[in-house]
């Protein structure tokens, strides 16, 4: 291959000379060159080693899916040489070699091909004993470029795009579609993977050249059309969301309608040694000559089965490239393309019709040196005796096309196989999806323009602009693709798939072994699973399979590739590793008090507050001690907080909670247990009646979002006269508890905290430190205590005021760990910790919170069934007989060698000087006073005794007033 003289349409800038290195050698290319075009122009005889047999390879398609010309470029693996622009100083190396391209130590594999049959992995890997050796060997042998393990994280921007009509492909039909949609008033985005517009419409002939150029000019003059070149539409997602990938970023394009003018991908002929360097698709040579001015060779042979073959021969001749012969698979009796054949013959090109390539012969450096051809009859039989040899240094293949329908199929379109065109063409189109041009089976250039205008108009109309064109464009009369451009050879090496080195016999063997549907064939043989994802191999593989099975290609059908259908750098897909974390309004106060954080739902909460000189355990014990003996304050702002208003608010709560609330007095609170329809406990909280038609209630931290959402759904379903507001984020909440809590709080508030005015389980509105507040008197940790609910904006100020009020009296802030100890001492269960997805109120010992007399509540009907059955398990309290050796949560209770339950919570209580916990046990075991055996860490048997709960203050005296006051007095 060599560089030709300049041409006005060339894409290279000869005034810019770029130096680069390839496999240790120094080379030069021009500005605008791609890596492959520069190497080809420099006459490098081969660029790569093939995947399996390490055969020498050069350019095949030069169309953004050349699977062999992948390179390691400046440390980046698998860079596509056919489309990656050359830069000065680039360091380029071949991939998949052992010791470099020329001296690749694995090149002997080509001679071992007969011992590497199809499905080799499946056949070799089934013995367990040998597996480790096989694995080591194949990990070393397979794979393409080398990933740099110390590469830094690369981020790339993502962008949202919006358009009325997205046109994929900027050839004649795509340009025309964009213009028609733009003319109707739609905002249009036109994308093409090439660096410039025009696609196959820009050629050497004036006919196509002129009209396409006029279309490009018109597109440039239309402000409503946005043009994106060097951009791959790589994936289609639901409702016209198309991933547009360019070198820098991913654009998430949302269109109202999409026109696929994505064209066709040329398919190779299959014959022995069809992969030798110098053998390429005719369209590849055409692009090389037109855009990069690289001639495919000095003696070119064309393998032809369509009119494009002759046109390209005429083009090459006009550019001074010597075409020796055209070998046409179709016989002269077919009477097709006679005029073009005559035109070629007139230029001295030998036109041999009714012949097929039988075998390519390699010369020096492994490149093609000759092509042996044989007669091919109408029935597809060859006569291998009558061989003719044509000396050459390049073989071009123009035998057929496959529709670039990947995105169309992803969009839900269906195709049918057109016998006339020997191509899959669109059959059914989903709403808003349109197809035109060669992908739609329309090949003649003027017809493509008309078809594009039709599709563009229809797409614009779908998006709400203009009236849809009713035009129907006929496909051309000439068949662009050969029925079976596949020639058998006893010595094989006739490649169907150039990515994975698959030969005809490999596919036939796979089919013979039973993998004879297109999906199974693909998975077993790996056809179409290489870097080009079958763009050059799927059609021929289907033809081979159809012949083997004696069925029509139509019967086998196309496979739909998953998005992204084209390889995309992972950095374009990677997200930002962003995790939302919620913080309460007093987060900074915790931080300044040396809080040690723990996650709770998506919140962060203080686990405990570190104090210099104290261990974690000591700090937690000291926090518990403060609450039991003076006072403590905990931030419970993470609880879900909901307000409900309306005449039927009480009725609504009666229906969603198991208890009764319609009769709750204003100014009082009541515990609430929420069940699902199957009677399982899903949440709990405290419900406070603030006014006759207004309740304020809490949910668990973890359940707040889902519980609120479900309440909204039930409200929508029942249509009761009430409305819910989620004030979780608006309001802060603290629990201020301990024998001193009343004494410390009273000076700060206008609410009379006296027992007569503010009894246990009461709720009052008033002011704290001058700030509007709701005070709930609850037994949260089993001491006299108040839950203080205030606006989030006031929270830090009130927290500081409360802390200041108690600091000299032993007040400590306490964290989640101390709260768990305190609550467990009172025997309170935690929904989701001590209950699971099957626990009903009877099992959780919470029947007291269920009012079965109500007409209806969620879960009631199931509870009626469950009540008659008796519990499957029971939640009981236990204390360890040896308080030092602690089991962990979820350790099992074993009874006579059988699992009889599990520990759900366990703590060591300094207050009680015992280790206590809750366990879910089988009912026959759950007798108070009974002994159980827990299998602890390392199988240690740990003895425990079942005891009644609460463990601490069983009659709840301390959280009621009189006793609490006595306790204060005793201090």
């Amino acid at each position: 291959m060599y560089r030709l003289d300049g041409h006005p349409d060339e894409w290279i800038d000869r005034s810019t000379v770029l130096s680069f290195r390839f496999e240790g050698g120094e080379y030069q290319g021009f500005g605008g060159d791609t890596i492959s075009s520069a190497l080809a122009a420099a006459g490098v005889p081969y660029l790569a080693r093939s995947f399996k047999y390490h055969r020498r390879r050069h350019i095949l398609s030069f169309a953004n899916h050349d699977s062999n010309t992948l390179f390691q470029v400046d440390g980046v693996p698998n860079v596509r040489g056919d489309v990656t622009p050359l830069h000065d100083g680039m360091r380029v190396a071949a991939i998949n070699t052992f010791g470099g391209l020329t001296h690749d130590k694995a090149r002997y594999l080509d001679r071992l091909a007969r011992w590497l049959p199809v499905g080799f992995y499946y056949k070799a890997f089934h013995t367990k004993r040998l597996f480790p050796q096989w694995e080591r060997m194949f990990r070393a042998f397979t794979g393409l470029g080398a990933v740099s393990l110390d590469a830094g994280r690369q981020t790339s921007a993502k962008r949202y795009g919006f358009s009325d009509v997205l046109v994929v492909g900027a050839g004649p039909s795509g340009l025309s579609a964009a213009l028609a949609a733009g003319a109707a008033g739609a905002r249009v985005t036109l994308v093409d993977e090439a660096f410039r517009l025009g696609g196959s419409g820009i050629g050497f002939h004036d006919g196509t050249h002129g009209s396409t150029r006029a279309l490009i000019e018109a597109v440039r003059r239309t402000p409503s059309i946005t043009v994106c070149c060097a951009t791959v539409a790589a994936a289609y997602y639901a409702d016209h969301w198309v991933a547009l990938v360019d070198a820098e970023r991913l654009t998430k394009m949302r269109a109202k309608a999409v026109v696929f003018a994505s064209g066709v991908i040329e398919q190779p002929a299959v014959f022995r040694n069809n992969d030798l360097p110098g053998i390429m698709l005719a369209s590849a040579a055409w692009r090389l000559v037109l855009r990069y001015r690289v001639a495919p060779g000095r003696q070119v042979v064309m393998v032809a089965a369509n009119v494009e073959a002759y046109q390209i021969c005429l083009d090459l001749h006009s550019q001074g490239v010597h075409v020796v012969a055209v070998v046409d698979l179709r016989s002269a009796q077919d009477g097709v393309d006679d005029a073009e054949a005559a035109a070629c013959a007139a230029l001295g090109i030998s036109v041999v019709r009714g012949h097929a390539p039988y075998e390519a012969v390699a010369g020096g450096e492994g490149a093609v040196a000759a092509l042996e051809i044989v007669p091919l009859d109408a029935a597809g039989r060859i006569d291998s005796i009558k061989r003719r040899r044509i000396e050459c240094d390049a073989v071009l293949m123009s035998v057929g096309w496959a529709a670039a329908a990947n995105l169309f199929l992803q969009a839900g379109g269906t195709t049918r196989f057109s016998e006339e065109l020997q191509q899959f063409v669109p059959s059914e189109l989903p709403a808003g999806i349109f197809a035109c041009g060669r992908m739609n089976g329309v090949y003649d250039c003027e017809a493509r323009v008309a078809d594009g205008a039709r599709a563009g108009s229809q797409a614009a109309s779908h998006a709400g602009f203009g009236v849809a064109s009713a035009a129907v464009v006929a496909p051309g009369a000439r068949c662009p693709s050969h029925r079976f451009p596949i020639i058998d050879h006893p010595k094989a090496k006739n490649f169907v798939d150039f990515d994975e080195d698959l030969q005809i016999k490999d596919l036939e063997n796979a089919a013979q072994e039973g993998f004879d549907s297109s999906e199974l064939l693909k998975r077993y043989s790996t056809v179409g699973m290489g870097p080009s994802q079958g763009k050059h191999s799927n059609m021929n593989a289907l033809r081979v399979l159809a012949r083997y099975r004696g069925v029509e290609v139509e019967r086998l059908g196309l496979t739909t590739s998953r998005p992204m259908y084209h390889p995309v750098p992972l950095k374009l897909l990677a997200g930002r590793s962003f995790n939302a974390e919620r913080r309460t309004p007093v987060d900074a106060e915790h931080e300044s008090s040396s809080a040690v954080w723990m996650p709770a739902g998506n919140w962060r909460r203080p686990e405990y507050y570190a104090v210099t000189g104290e261990s974690r355990t000591q700090s937690i014990e000291a926090e518990v001690h403060a609450v039991r003996n003076s006072a403590g304050i905990i931030d419970v702002g993470t609880l879900g907080k909901i307000e409900i208003y309306g005449p039927q608010a009480g009725l609504f709560l009666d229906r969603v909670y198991a208890g009764k609330y319609a009769d709750l007095k204003v100014g009082m609170t009541r515990y609430g247990l929420m069940l699902d329809e199957s009677g399982v406990i899903v949440d709990d909280g405290v419900i406070a009646r603030m006014a006759p038609e207004m309740f304020y209630f809490t949910t668990t931290t973890g359940g707040s979002a889902t519980v609120f959402r479900e309440l909204l759904r039930l409200n929508a379903l029942w249509g009761l006269d009430c409305a819910l507001i989620n004030v979780t984020g608006h309001r802060a909440a603290f629990n201020f508890a301990g024998p001193l809590s009343r004494e410390l709080l009273q000076p700060l508030t206008d609410v009379d905290l006296g027992d007569a005015k503010f009894p246990y389980q009461g709720v009052r509105s008033g002011r704290i430190a001058g700030v509007a507040a709701r005070l709930l008197r609850v037994g949260f940790v089993g001491e006299l205590g108040y839950e203080i609910h205030i606006a989030a904006g006031d929270a830090a100020y009130v927290w500081r005021a409360l802390s200041a009020a108690g600091s000299s009296r032993g007040l400590r802030p306490f964290g989640v760990e101390a709260q768990r100890v305190l609550r467990l001492e009172k025997g309170h269960f935690i929904v989701g910790q001590d209950t699971d997805g099957l626990t009903d109120p009877f099992e959780a010992n919470a029947s007291w919170a269920v009012n079965m007399q109500k007409p209806f509540f969620v879960g009631q009907r199931s509870l009626k069934i469950l009540r008659t059955r008796g519990p499957r398990q029971l939640l009981v309290g236990f204390e360890l007989l040896d308080p030092v050796r602690m089991p962990k949560e979820c350790h099992l209770v074993i009874e006579r060698g059988v699992i009889a339950g599990r520990i759900t919570s366990v703590v060591h209580s300094r207050t009680l000087n015992k280790s206590i916990g809750l366990a879910m046990l089988s009912p026959d075991l759950a007798r108070t006073g009974g002994d159980i055996e827990i299998r602890g860490e390392h199988g240690d048997p740990l003895k425990a005794r079942i005891v009644p709960t609460p463990f601490y203050d069983p009659r709840h005296a301390r959280q009621r007033a009189a006793v609490a006051e006595r306790a204060v007095a005793a201090l």
Binding site: Y237, D239, E428, L429, A431, V472, R709, G719, I865
Partner: protein
Amino acid sequence: MKIMVCPLNGPRPVMEFVYGGEVRVSPDPDTCSDAEWSAYVFNRSGSPGVKYEWWCHIASGYWFIALRDTARDIVVATYPVESVRGGLPAYDADAAAQAAGIRAQDRAS
């Protein structure tokens, strides 16, 4: 990503919504048998087809009813809950197909 048309908020990406299950009518808890009730509580039909479903627009907390073709992943229509409280409209299979908009490519040949 799919677009869903919320009756309150208009067309929004589907990630702004959560699915709330198929719309199913509870048997009368006072008169139904235990077997009927447990069938209602525990059994769901996973078969693809055109179904009424609960959907919620998360940001606004708005629940509505969507008629969706789960086989073809198409939202046929959406309704405010009030508009269907009297009973779900009988859906029209032709309307569902029309919403899908699948049509044959016109061909001259």
